[in-house]
């Protein structure tokens, strides 16, 4: 053995693992910084602006609101601005039953349609996961395909079916099942149908992926141990597919709460949902501060489900590793 004078390794800064070391490189910083800045500027900051404007007052000008917390007045002006902040828009929202009803209705409609989507989607996903492996990719593509076609078009297609002289009523009447046309369009029923139809792929896909991963021999083991098929389903299959159920329900519920196109086209003027209210405040009443306040509260309402969704995403990401 040769003698080697060992130089003490620098203890203060132990060399990091390779990825972290590379992260110090310029190129690697850019990889993080570019999308980060983009999202900060176009996603996070806009929310702050929404919040800011929700505290301002409507004005007949362009843009139609009084400036608040404007940095152009310097710091003192900025601080003085705090005293001028007004929560009138929020007070307004709480006083007018219309808004409160719209929030509650939206949540209820979203919850009911999520349940309906789950009930419709589960058998489809289950059937797909148990289909012969050779046709599974085709089935999967068939579920994804409508998702690629326009949302607006798919909602539009239902108008022709649901309206009083539409195809559904024509069919039912020619079969003599009903004598008077059913009024479906411009009711909540039409909204349910629209949401279930439009969001079905979002429910089926996560359900399918968790059901397909499941080892079917678990069910066989349960049946072998004396559990009847229905019991095996509720005791084995369903609990194991819960991650898919949760992911699917969140993917349907969250956007459905703020849905605009479906209530607007299928729900008519009689139905009330918060996305539509926001749209009308903004485009028809041109009341930007109130629509901002509506958006802030909608976001607050959705914070918890969105956090759940992100947690589920992060977990899925960890497992994929």
């Amino acid at each position: 053995m040769t003698n080697i004078a060992v130089t003490a390794a620098p203890l203060s800064a132990p060399p990091a693992a390779l990825p972290a070391r590379l992260a110090k490189g310029f190129v690697n910083r850019l990889v993080i910084i570019i999308p980060y800045l983009w999202l900060l500027f176009f996603f996070l900051i806009p929310f702050i602006i929404v919040f800011k404007i929700s505290l301002s007052q409507t004005a007949i000008s362009m843009p139609p609101y009084t400036p608040v917390l404007d940095f152009s007045d310097g710091i003192s002006g900025f601080l003085a601005g705090f005293r001028e902040l007004n929560f009138d828009n929020y007070t307004w929202l709480t006083q007018d039953a219309l808004y409160f009803n719209a929030y509650v209705t939206s949540l209820i409609i979203a919850a009911i349609s999520t349940m309906l989507t789950l009930i419709v989607g589960y058998p489809i996903a289950y059937g797909m996961a148990r289909a012969p492996a050779t046709i599974r990719p085709t089935l999967l593509m068939l579920v994804i395909l409508p998702f690629w076609t326009s949302f607006l078009i798919r909602v539009y297609a239902w108008i022709g079916i649901l309206k009083p002289e539409g195809l559904l009523n024509q069919l039912l009447m020619s079969l003599h099942i009903i004598s008077q046309p059913l009024v479906i369009l411009n009711t909540y029923t039409a909204i349910f149908i629209g949401i279930v139809y439009s969001y079905l792929p979002f429910m089926v896909l996560p359900l399918y992926s968790s059901l397909e991963k499941m080892d079917y021999s678990l069910v066989e083991a349960a049946e072998d141990l004396g559990c009847p098929p229905i019991g095996a389903f509720w005791k084995i299959t369903f609990p194991l597919s819960l991650p898919g159920v949760v992911a699917g329900c969140l993917l349907v519920f969250i956007p459905a709460v703020g849905e605009f196109v479906i209530p607007d086209l299928l729900g008519g003027s009689q139905t009330l949902m918060i996305g539509k209210t926001l749209w009308n405040e903004f485009f028809s009443n041109r009341d930007w501060p109130v629509s901002s306040a509506v958006a802030v509260i909608l976001l607050l309402v959705l914070t918890i489900p969105i956090m759940f969704f992100q947690q589920a995403q992060a977990k899925a990401q960890e497992q994929g590793r």
Partner: protein
Amino acid sequence: MKSLGSIRRDFAPWNDPNAKPYIQFDKVTKKFGDFTAVNNLSLTIFEREFFALLGASGCGKSTLLRMLAGFEEPTAGRILLDGQDLRGIPPYKRPVNMMFQSYALFPHMTVEKNIAFGLKQERMPGSDIEKRVAEMLKLVKLEQFAKRKPHQLSGGQRQRVALARSVAKRPKVLLLDEPLGALDKKLREETQFELMDLQQELGLTFVVVTHDQEEAMTMADRIAIMDKGEVMQVATPAEIYEAPTSRFVAHFVGNVNMFEGKVAEHTANATRITGATGAEIVVDNGGKAAAGSDIVFAIRPEKIKVSSKKPADAVNALEGEVYDVAYLGDMTVYHIKLDDGQIVRASALNASRVTEDPLTWNDRAWVSFRPDAGVVLTR
């Protein structure tokens, strides 16, 4: 001249005090957060050596290899290659190439392009690259597969492409991470010998990581047995098997019987050991342990003879009864329960088709062995 094991080795720079070390791990420690993967480890590997790092998964052997390749930097200590400190040199500038466990063949490139990849990085002229690639393809006998993509090859062929790619640059050291792990048993055995021939032919230094002791024993000049980030023993396969220096190594490689005991006394050329239950064993190589100290006597099953009567000339003979017996074809394995309760495993080569002294369950039997048949372990 007597020697451990059945092979005479002429290549043994580790026994030459003047030999220049080629790779040196010098008090190397690697931590991942709180976990210490490699703990203050020193190791020397010589030029043209076929060196194996053997251990269970998580023992730090792969980390050691990855530090040599440059994918990880040691937390403390240094690694020297041919006298040069490798600290801070990124993997793409190290004169070391690696063959990956997954082969890591680039799926979008043909066999040819895969092999040429490393040569292109060092801007070798095109005609030279062609020549070298052809040479490599010939070396691994894949000439007619040059234009195929990796997925069009069988497992064994992929393994050979990975090998050709990693030696194409003529690295100073070739690192092999479980090179045969993905092959089936039969192919694995053939490939072991091919790898040895290749190493001889190219005259490269090979460092191979494996968890398969047979693979390490077959191919390596020397083996380092690793456990929990430390090297337990570095020695030739024969020394590892016949002269393990610790219980861990004795247990890790092959089967072994252990007798707990104390050193009773040292005589001129033998040591007398008293077993925990009173039985006495005489060995001729237990000199290092002080009289009265606790030791373990380790002996391999094939060094123990089983017979129905006490052999007349036996120095060490213990009595018991046949507890289990298994006929494996090439040999027969006995489990003998000694009268003190310890179970001894013994194996006998079935050198002839007919056995003179057959035994069966519950027969009285004697186990006997020579004084030089086992080793005394103090740790």
